[in-house]
């Protein structure tokens, strides 16, 4: 008697569970397949591979932390870190500064705002393509348009921005900064949220332009700055196409544009050192996680949420 009541309750419970969950989980089915088969599964697998030697043809061989130790001794890996950090720390701030400056300019109640917004967005729309990277290579290269222009107008004999290892990375940074359109649109939306009364009140108090910028615009915009910073930083660490195309796939000249992801690609898919490349991938994840954590951790000191962060 007791037994059957219990089993009855269990079956009722299971029925309820089924009724509540069957349809929602059906809707989530594609995502579940994707997240387990194509994200979590491969992540575990690449973590494992990072402790092995693996070339896809012979079975993987466990070598402990050797890949990670090798990374620290690998001058090309260190070079790729240096290139990537230079790129990230130059391009992200410059891009955001440009985006904010132009957004503020356009926010002055200029007529035909949609037209200008379009013009400034077009480089972002097209810039990720191979076509533009190819164009960049030709424009910044020796005998390219930029240098001919500098020579004929200012009489400056400029270096070859693509094949001179000292400058090659700058052409890629310029390409990234050029694509400030998305950040600009986000800043514009943020600027429109700032109540005009704040500016008017501070003008009455006699605050100058600089004061207003640092005491009103920046604090009020800080959540948007925070957001843009996180997105751009994560994206920048993973930059691949411009470096690949502009350097002809090699990261040259003499590894001066050997981006992290480019080196990872070479190791994994040109030399088939897949264990080493997996270790590099996890290294990248850790680097990105650290920087994201730093931004999140410091956010309480510089990001103002109107609703107290809730």
């Amino acid at each position: 008697m007791k037994q059957s009541a219990k089993s009855n309750r269990t079956s009722m419970y299971l029925k309820g569970l089924w009724k509540k969950n069957a349809v929602p989980y059906l809707f989530l089915l594609p995502w579940f397949l994707g997240v387990f088969a194509l994200t979590i599964g491969p992540m575990i697998s690449s973590l494992y591979l990072s402790f092995t030697q693996y070339d896809m043809l012979t079975p993987s061989k466990w070598i402990g932390t050797e890949n990670y130790a090798r990374m620290l001794d690998d001058p090309r890996y260190m070079q790729s870190l240096k290139v990537t950090f230079t790129y990230v720390f130059a391009s992200v701030p410059l891009k955001l500064i440009f985006a904010l400056a132009v957004a503020m300019l356009l926010n002055k109640g200029i007529r035909a705002l949609p037209l200008y917004r379009t013009v400034y967005y077009i480089p972002t729309l097209l810039g990720g393509s191979v076509a533009i990277a190819v164009l960049w290579r030709k424009m910044f290269g020796g005998g390219g348009v930029l240098n001919e222009f500098l020579l004929s107008v200012f009489g400056i004999q400029a270096p070859d921005w693509v094949s001179n290892p000292k400058y090659a990375i700058y052409s890629i940074i310029a390409l990234t900064v050029w694509q400030f359109g998305s950040s600009m649109i986000i800043f514009l939306a943020g600027l429109k949220q700032i109540p005009m009364e704040l500016y008017e009140a501070s003008q009455v108090d006699g605050a100058g332009r600089m004061r207003r910028f640092f005491n009103i615009t920046i604090p009020m915009l800080s959540p948007v700055i925070f957001f843009n910073l996180v997105i751009q930083l994560i994206t920048a660490f993973q930059a691949f196409t411009p470096a690949f195309i502009i350097s002809g796939g090699k990261g040259g000249p003499i590894d001066s544009t050997l981006f992290y992801t480019l080196y990872l690609y070479q190791k994994g898919f040109a030399f088939f050192e897949m264990g080493y490349a997996s270790a590099m991938a996890w290294g990248l994840l850790v680097i990105i996680a650290i920087f994201t954590a730093i931004i999140f951790g410091t956010s309480k000191y510089w990001v103002n949420y109107a609703d107290g962060g809730k």
């Binding site: 509540k20 349809v23 929602p24 989980y25 809707f27 989530l28 594609p30 995502w31 994707g34 997240v35 194509l38 994200t39 491969p42 992540m43 697998s45 690449s46 132009v102 300019l105 002055k108 200029i110 007529r111 917004r117 379009t118 013009v119 400034y120 967005y121 077009i122 480089p123 972002t124 729309l125 097209l126 990720g128 393509s129 191979v130 076509a131 533009i132 190819v134 164009l135 030709k138 424009m139 005998g143 390219g144 348009v145 050029w178 694509q179 998305s182 986000i186 957001f227 994560i234 993973q238 196409t241 195309i245 992801t261 990872l264 897949m274 997996s278 991938a281 996890w282 990248l284 990105i288």
Partner: protein, 280 residues
């Protein structure tokens, strides 16, 4: 308005126009160069070409390594469309569940989904490649579109969840009273109302697939399967000075779809970017 502030406004305006021209200059130069005879591209730098020709376009279209550029474009369009359908369907299904339905472990799965947005895809790419290689899928489009059918671009799920959460619940409730089930509410109410979010997803999926270089480089090997980015790279690799003209011409062609989509659906771009902060 007094004269100084009017002069100031004019100055701002002028500056905005000039800066805009500088920004667009590389693209204008590309378009103009594509109509110049090859020998003039680098010797004559002016924006007004002395000689106009369509040679570059005909030569470029006939392609390199026996594949016409038309093949690359066809491949890219086909791949782009499949990816659009995949992303719209799979991401909207997941978004409906997260945005509207209640079920066990919802918070856990939602948090997992959010984490995957930030994940650099490099930590999955090697095992994925090995997996697709063993399936015999390398040099097919499978590895490029199957992930989209499985909602791996979680960013779009998030975008749609945000949108669906903003839709009034009364509609679902009255539909329930009218006898609509959960599935019908998704199909008849949520999907039509979430149309702007679906369009934003479709637009960015198409453009990102069109521009995606890394995974197409990885998975497509034979020129018959090449897409536009790989086709352009083929030009670059095989190019002496004589080939720059055709390559520029095809570069221009490759930019056209993004421009058409942008100008016909502009407001979805601005809304999509400013409400969700699509990267780029």
């Amino acid at each position: 308005m007094n004269t100084t502030s009017r002069a100031q406004a004019m100055g701002t305006h002028l500056f905005v126009i000039l800066l805009g021209l500088v920004m667009l200059y590389p693209i204008i130069w590309l378009v103009v160069s594509s109509f110049k005879p090859s020998y003039l591209i680098f010797s004559d730098l002016s924006i007004w070409p002395k000689e106009v020709t369509l040679d570059n376009y005909t030569k470029g279209w006939s392609g390199v390594s026996k594949s016409s550029f038309g093949t690359f474009i066809g491949n890219s369009i086909m791949l782009g469309l499949i990816c659009v359908v995949g992303n719209v369907v799979s991401c909207s299904m997941a978004a409906y569940a997260f945005g509207r339905l209640s079920f066990s472990w919802k918070k856990v799965w939602f948090a997992l989904m959010m984490v995957t947005i930030m994940l650099p895809h490099h930590v999955t790419v090697i095992p994925q490649y090995v997996f697709f290689f063993k399936m015999g899928w390398v040099d097919t489009f499978g590895p490029l579109f199957v992930p989209k059918l499985l909602a791996t671009e979680a960013f779009f799920i998030f975008l749609m969840v945000q949108f669906i959460r903003g839709l009034p619940r009364d509609l679902d409730e009255s539909a329930t009273i009218d006898g609509c089930g959960t599935i019908q509410i998704y199909w008849r109410i949520i999907l039509p109302l979430a149309f702007p979010a679906l369009i934003t997803t479709a637009i960015f999926t198409f453009i990102w697939t069109w521009d995606d270089f890394f995974s197409q480089l990885l998975y497509l090997n034979s020129p018959g399967n090449y897409t536009v980015p790989l086709g352009l790279r083929l030009f670059m690799d095989s190019s002496g000075e004589s080939n720059w003209g055709p390559m520029f011409a095809m570069s221009v062609v490759s930019l056209i779809p993004a421009l058409i989509i942008f100008f016909s659906l502009q407001r979805y771009f601005v809304e999509g970017i400013s409400t969700t902060g699509i990267k780029g």
